[in-house]
């Protein structure tokens, strides 16, 4: 097992400001009503700083980044 970063959204807090999709278009896009859709899977390592910035920029603190255990190829 190794750890990976994962983005999550508190859907009740999220008001669809859309800053996250502007800062992190590689992972987050907006639906037809302006609410974020996060790509499946962990945050690629190279994008971690940008993901952290997106989390810090969310006006309602709905976006969060957490370490999650991730099965490696060997342990699957």
């Amino acid at each position: 097992m190794r750890t990976a970063l994962r983005l999550s959204i508190d859907r009740i807090k999220c008001d669809g400001h859309g800053l996250c999709a502007e800062l992190l278009p590689e992972i987050i896009r907006l639906d037809d009503w302006g609410y974020p859709i996060i790509a499946a899977g962990p945050v690629p390592e190279g994008l971690a700083p940008l993901a952290q910035r997106a989390v810090a920029s969310c006006p309602v603190l709905a976006l969060a980044l957490a370490l999650a255990l991730q099965p490696t190829a060997a342990s699957k």
Binding site: I12, K13, D31, D32, Y35
Partner: protein, 402 residues
């Protein structure tokens, strides 16, 4: 049917069974505590509120949560519009439900039992009030009644906890789950009334007895509501694994040719009649086919009714029942519902169908609760089952009776 269990005993038309009659007929429960949890686990009993979650597993989780003395919520909200089985059970066999509730309280050393009943189910509430008054003082002391508002989401476990805590029946962000942190922060067992009634019988007769009913590998009996195009709509107790065709026959058969069956209620699925007849009413078997037993609604669509128009009506209801907390649910379901209504009202439209197909992929999994997921699963089944009708729908909505 012979072999009734929950609904055995005096004629249902004579109303609620008294405590005296109930105790004389069934005697006292024999199992409680750890032995009861083990019996529930090996019985195969799953939750009958819609989630079909294994009951033994749930009780173990609450028993293992160490923070504070637990709370038991007896869930009789029954917000599913087509379902009647919970209110029939509460109105006729209230002591079976209360037995299960107090067995849970005793086993989990709960400090409180909250009986949560839909405000519109007046007869059920009255029967449960009277039944509670007949219980022992030590049981009455830890129990109280709370009315569930008439909303689709009110029976969802975290919405129930939220209503009891704060007077608002809207779901909250998970985790924490109710069994970890529910009412007043205590581990909380939220269990459907039918499920608790089965517990009351398993505590008397054991898990092997529970499994001795059931067909095609399924265990126990279940309450279902047969609605729509059948000669005698209503609540039935059937052996798990009974096919939909057999259940409809128990409701005196279809009132005419049927085109489709809605299995599991508004979070369930439309299935073409020819396929639906063969399906067994059993949570595990339906799941392998990609369907949900849900709360056991079997809604028969007569061939003369338009599935597209009925789908549009149900989608409008589900959109209006969004708690309006999460954007993808509030705006997404409204957009899905509007598109369905436009097809129903103005006729088939390829662009609308393309949009629907994109949205049913984008919307699920993006709410705090599973309301958008349930609504979208329902719509997906409609788009598949009524594909031809959606593609060639005439502008006839206004001519269809509601």
């Amino acid at each position: 049917m012979t072999g009734l269990r929950l609904l055995a005993g005096p004629d249902l038309a004579s109303g609620a069974e008294s405590d005296a009659n109930h105790s004389r007929r069934l005697g006292a429960p024999k199992l409680s505590g750890r032995a009861l949890i083990e019996a529930l686990a090996s019985s195969g009993l799953t939750g009958r509120g819609g989630g079909s979650f294994p009951v033994g597993t749930k009780w173990r989780a609450v028993a293992a949560a160490s923070k504070g003395s637990p709370v038991v919520v007896v869930n009789g909200a029954e917000g599913e519009p087509q379902s009647h089985k919970d209110r029939v059970l509460m109105s006729t066999r209230p002591h079976l439900v209360l037995d299960g509730a107090f067995l849970a309280a005793h086993t989990l050393r709960a400090r409180e039992v909250i009986v949560y009943i839909g405000e519109e189910h007046r007869a059920a509430r009255a029967a449960m009030d009277r039944a509670l008054a007949e219980r022992t003082e030590s049981e009455r002391r830890i129990a109280r009644m709370v009315g569930a508002p008439q909303r689709y989401v009110a029976g969802e476990s975290r919405a129930a906890v939220h209503l009891i805590e704060a007077g608002v029946a809207t779901p909250t962000t998970a985790p924490p789950r109710s069994h970890e942190r529910g009412v007043a922060g205590a581990p909380t067992l939220v269990q459907n009334v039918e499920t608790l009634a089965h517990v009351a019988l398993i505590a008397r007769y054991g898990d092997a007895w529970f499994r001795s009913a059931g067909r095609r590998g399924a265990a126990g009996t279940l309450l279902i509501t047969v609605a729509g195009g059948v000669k005698r709509p209503g609540v039935l107790e059937v052996e798990a694994g009974t096919t939909i065709e057999e259940a409809v026959a128990m409701a005196d058969g279809p009132s005419g040719p049927a085109s489709a069956v809605l299995i599991g209620g508004y979070f369930g699925a439309w299935v073409a009649a020819a396929k639906a007849w063969e399906l067994p009413l059993d949570a595990a078997a339906l799941k392998t086919e990609g369907f949900n037993l849900g709360c056991g609604v079997v809604g028969v669509l007569p061939a003369g009714r338009c599935g597209v128009c009925d789908t549009a009506r149900i989608m409008r209801y589900l959109a209006e029942e969004s708690s309006a907390q999460c954007g993808p649910c509030f705006f997404g379901l409204r957009a899905l519902s509007d598109a369905c209504s436009r097809i129903a009202e103005r006729g088939a439209n390829r662009d609308e169908i393309a949009r629907l197909k994109r949205w049913v992929v984008e919307v699920p999994g993006r709410g705090a609760c599973r309301h958008p997921d349930g609504a979208v699963m329902f719509l997906r089944s409609a788009l598949a089952t009524f594909a031809d009708e959606f593609a060639a729908h005439p502008a006839h909505w206004r001519q269809q009776p509601a």
